[in-house]
């Protein structure tokens, strides 16, 4: 299978700290892959390099063959990469519907003058955008909450709205940064189904950062493990689960007797 995104020897430094160190990475088209690793392993920095928030100091990132490491975030978004955030970053004072409409920005072309004049084209375009936004709202089970301010939505709904907003940019590659954070087992189960549906129904490639091992192991076709900015392992969920370096990275030396599930629970406790 062809790869939709290829990262070659990507390095990002913050002062003396090497957040991402010469990471090679590949995402096959229409796959669901994950990056895992302990806190501070450089996962989110790597995400930021892909979406243009951080410019890598070295290396190359190719998206469908085009180098993107020097592009601005808005240009990268136009190529077809969208993301969500570890701590939800919705436009809090805007309604759910408006949040999604902002996501459609790149497909709307009305100039300020034609918007003021209210030309038939603009009216048509806006109506189309509104229909699409409502469809996306339905898609993430938020029917009827279009007029609610984003900040007043419950936590789970905010997570879903953020995904809907990302979907509005019609991405080919969707980056989800800890989508199951703060969810109970039942909700994470639903999320797994939902992510599969994104891939199967919409043909979107999904890259996850995730701490929730049940989600990661259940959904990923391929897993990459980062620790201190370096890639220490990659492979199928099964391979990762039994990889001694991974267990060591998570639990420290000599703790290999504990399972990873408990390690995750400990992490959650710490986070809570």
């Amino acid at each position: 299978m062809a790869s939709i995104l290829t990262a070659k020897k990507v390095t990002k430094r913050f002062g003396g700290l090497v957040a991402v160190n010469s990471v090679d990475f590949e995402i096959p088209e229409k796959s669901i892959v994950s990056i895992i690793g302990p806190n501070g392993a450089g996962k989110t920095t790597f995400f930021n390099c892909i979406t243009g928030f951080n410019k890598p100091d070295e290396g190359e990132i190719l998206f469908e063959g085009t180098p993107i490491q020097k592009l601005r975030p808005d240009q990268i978004s136009r190529l077809g990469i969208a993301r969500t955030y570890q701590n939800i970053r919705l436009f809090a004072e805007m309604t759910a519907l408006e949040n999604i409409l902002v996501g459609q920005h790149i497909f709307l072309h009305a100039s300020w003058l034609s918007a003021v004049l209210g030309t038939p084209n603009v009216v048509k375009e806006e109506q189309g955008a509104l229909d699409e936004a409502k469809r996306l709202l339905d898609f993430v089970d938020l029917t009827g909450h279009g007029d609610t301010l984003a900040r007043n939505l419950p936590y789970g709904a905010q997570r879903r709205l953020e995904i809907a907003r990302a979907l509005a940019t019609k991405p080919k590659l969707l980056l989800l940064d800890e989508p199951s954070a703060g969810m109970n087992p039942r909700e994470s189960e639903d999320l797994t189904v939902f992510i599969r549906r994104l891939r199967d129904a919409l043909g979107i490639t999904v890259l996850l950062i995730e701490h929730h091992m049940r989600v990661v192991m259940g959904i990923s076709e391929h897993i990459t493990v980062l620790d201190y900015g370096e890639k220490i392992a990659e492979g199928s969920p099964k391979e990762i689960q039994s990889n001694p370096r991974v267990i060591e990275a998570y639990l420290g030396r000599g703790a290999a007797t504990e399972g990873m599930e408990t390690a995750h629970e400990r992490h959650q406790k710490k986070a809570g």
């Binding site: 436009f91 805007m94 806006e126």
Partner: protein, 578 residues
């Protein structure tokens, strides 16, 4: 147990009274009482100064009574009235003590306004012996205040409205008098009956009191019925009702400057110009969240462009008509917005405020500088700006001679009024359309979270620049009208305080809200202009209003639609959860 609480409620009444006394003393010592005493609420009965002091002791009585009902387990009418009496008496005693002390000590060395005139006002011109009147008046008014909640609502509300209306009539009576006198001989007779030289006459005040009281009583009795029957109308009827309302408002708006005379028309024009500036800043600050403390620069640029292009004075570069100059002025202001926008694109928050503040000062200093005196006239400014002409403008002949207008020349503020109002309505419409467009959403997204907006494909550079440019264009239009209204422009009228006023009116009105800009401009610019008596205390009141607003209603007088929609939504779906 009961003994302790009883002491408590009297003590609290005393504290409220002391606080009220301090406020009253403050008002006296800043000179407000003295100035307000020249203006009567009802001639020969009560002056505005006395009215304000009475209002303080009445409120103290009211608050003390209310406080008592909270403090006591079994509050009675008697305890409330006692508390009111104590509070009102205390207010009066504080002032009386001040008078007695003032007889022995010269306060004037420190407080300039502790003048003999003030003592005269406070003692009702009876000398030191009149000091006892104040505590008595305080006690009675405190008692009245405490008795106020005991009156049934159906009487209380009309009474309150009527008194409030009398207060406003007292503030504006000079204006009303002039307006009515302007309506010819009959008007003069009516004006003389209703108003004296300094305030309302006794019959005038009684007429207003009864009229407003009756209307208020009628509305509280039948208002609900009228409202429900209006909302039960068929769709056609509702539209009809709306059309009738719009027509009535339109007729009032068209006729107002003719009826009211030039002064009020000029004030309305100034308000409209501030609305234009406010709408402009509302695009950059309210929508896109880009603070601009030098907004007056664009106003100045619009004004100078029109000035230089149309002036028949020595600095007129071209002598084109106002109508041809306006689009150029708007365009030049837009370019200035672009020029300001470019360097400050990467600057955020506090730094942005400082950078834009610098821009505003640079423009003002350049316009008034000796360096460019041959172009902008330096401190003398640009004079002889052509008035707008609807019709044919004859060719320019020579310097200092205006071009002849064959047709209607918009000479007076009363004529410019229509231009200003039309522009304000037009720009409000443009703002509204922009807000509802993809661009408006992009601006709001940038305001909320710049990084996320960029990650969704919004080009920050283009979008921010456009916000600066369109905002500047609106202010430029305001400046253009200002130039032709005054007929001359001076760099010294483009002060920082104008920019601050615009920011303040947006905050008071409600960030990002278009009606908020209008309400804010009327409240912060229009009212102080109309209230000449208050103008001396303008910035004092201004500061007080801003602080109170931020504490009580931080979202503004008329918050933006999203906030309202949300409240409505919560009301409709109270109790339902996702």
């Amino acid at each position: 147990m009961n003994e302790i609480t009883k002491e408590n409620f009297l003590w609290s009444a005393l504290k409220i009274g002391l606080l009220g006394g301090a406020i009253a003393l403050f008002i006296c010592l800043i000179g407000m009482t003295e100035i307000f005493s020249k203006r009567a609420v009802i001639e020969k009965v009560i002056t505005l100064g006395q009215f304000v002091l009475l209002a303080i002791s009445v409120s103290c009585g009211l608050i003390a009574a209310r406080r008592t009902s909270q403090l006591l387990r079994s509050p009675s009418a008697f305890s409330g009235l006692t508390a009111g009496l104590v509070a009102g008496l205390t207010v009066g005693l504080v002032l009386a003590l001040f008078i007695l002390a003032g007889d022995k000590i010269n306060f004037r060395a420190v407080f300039l306004n502790a003048s003999p005139a003030l003592y005269k006002v406070l003692t009702f011109e009876k000398g030191i012996g009149g000091a006892w009147i104040l505590p008595a008046a305080g006690a009675i008014s405190g008692l009245l205040g405490a008795a106020f909640p005991l009156i049934p609502t159906s009487v209380r509300r009309p009474l309150f409205h009527a008194v409030l209306f009398l207060f406003f009539m007292a503030l504006f009576s000079g204006l009303f008098r002039v307006v009515i006198i302007n309506q010819g001989e009959k008007g003069e007779k009516i004006a003389k009956y209703l108003f004296g030289q300094t305030g309302m006459t006794v019959p005038g005040a009684s007429i207003f009191f009864v009229l407003v009281g009756a209307i208020s009583a009628f509305w509280s009795a039948f208002g609900k019925q009228i409202k429900t029957s209006a909302s039960n109308l068929p769709k056609g009827g509702k539209i009809g009702l709306r059309v009738v309302a719009i027509v009535i408002i339109g007729i009032i708006a068209l006729g107002l400057p003719r009826v009211s005379g030039p002064f009020i028309a000029q004030v309305i024009v100034i308000v409209a110009l501030y609305i234009l500036m406010g709408l402009g800043l509302n695009v950059t600050l309210g929508f896109a969240g880009l603070l601009d403390l030098g907004f007056v620069a664009f106003y100045a640029i619009g004004a100078y462009t029109v000035g230089l292009l149309t002036s028949y004075g020595p600095f007129g570069m071209q002598h084109i008509s106002f109508w041809a100059a306006v689009p150029i002025a708007v365009l030049v202001a837009m370019c200035a917005g672009f020029v300001l926008g470019l360097p400050v694109l990467g600057v955020r928050g506090d730094y942005l405020a400082i950078a834009t503040l610098g821009f505003g000062e640079i423009v003002r200093l350049l316009a008034g500088s000796d360096f460019l005196i041959n172009y902008f006239g330096g401190p003398q400014g640009v004079i002889g700006i052509q008035k707008p002409c609807i019709g044919v403008l004859e060719a320019f002949t020579k310097i200092d001679v205006p071009r002849m207008c064959r047709g209607i020349e918009l000479k007076d503020p009363q004529d410019i009024y229509y231009l200003a109002i039309f522009s304000a309505i037009l720009i409000a419409f443009v703002s509204w359309r922009l807000r509802e467009s993809r661009l408006g959403r992009a601006w709001m997204a940038i305001r909320e979270d710049e990084d996320v907006a960029e990650a969704l494909g919004i080009n920050l550079i283009q979008t921010k620049l456009l916000a600066y440019m369109l905002g500047a264009a609106m202010a430029g239009l305001g400046g253009a009208i200002f130039a032709t209204l005054i007929g001359s422009i001076f760099a010294s009228s483009m002060q920082l305080i104008v920019s601050i006023n615009v920011v303040a009116l947006i905050i008071v009105g409600g960030m990002g809200s278009i009606p908020g800009v209008i309400v804010g401009a009327i409240a912060l610019i229009g009212l102080p202009e109309l209230l000449r008596e208050v103008s001396e205390f303008r910035y004092l009141l201004y500061g007080a209003v801003l602080i109170i607003m931020m504490l009580v209603k931080p979202e503004g007088l008329w918050p933006s639609q999203a906030a309202k929609r949300e409240l409505h939504h919560l009301d409709a779906e109270a109790g339902t959860e996702l």
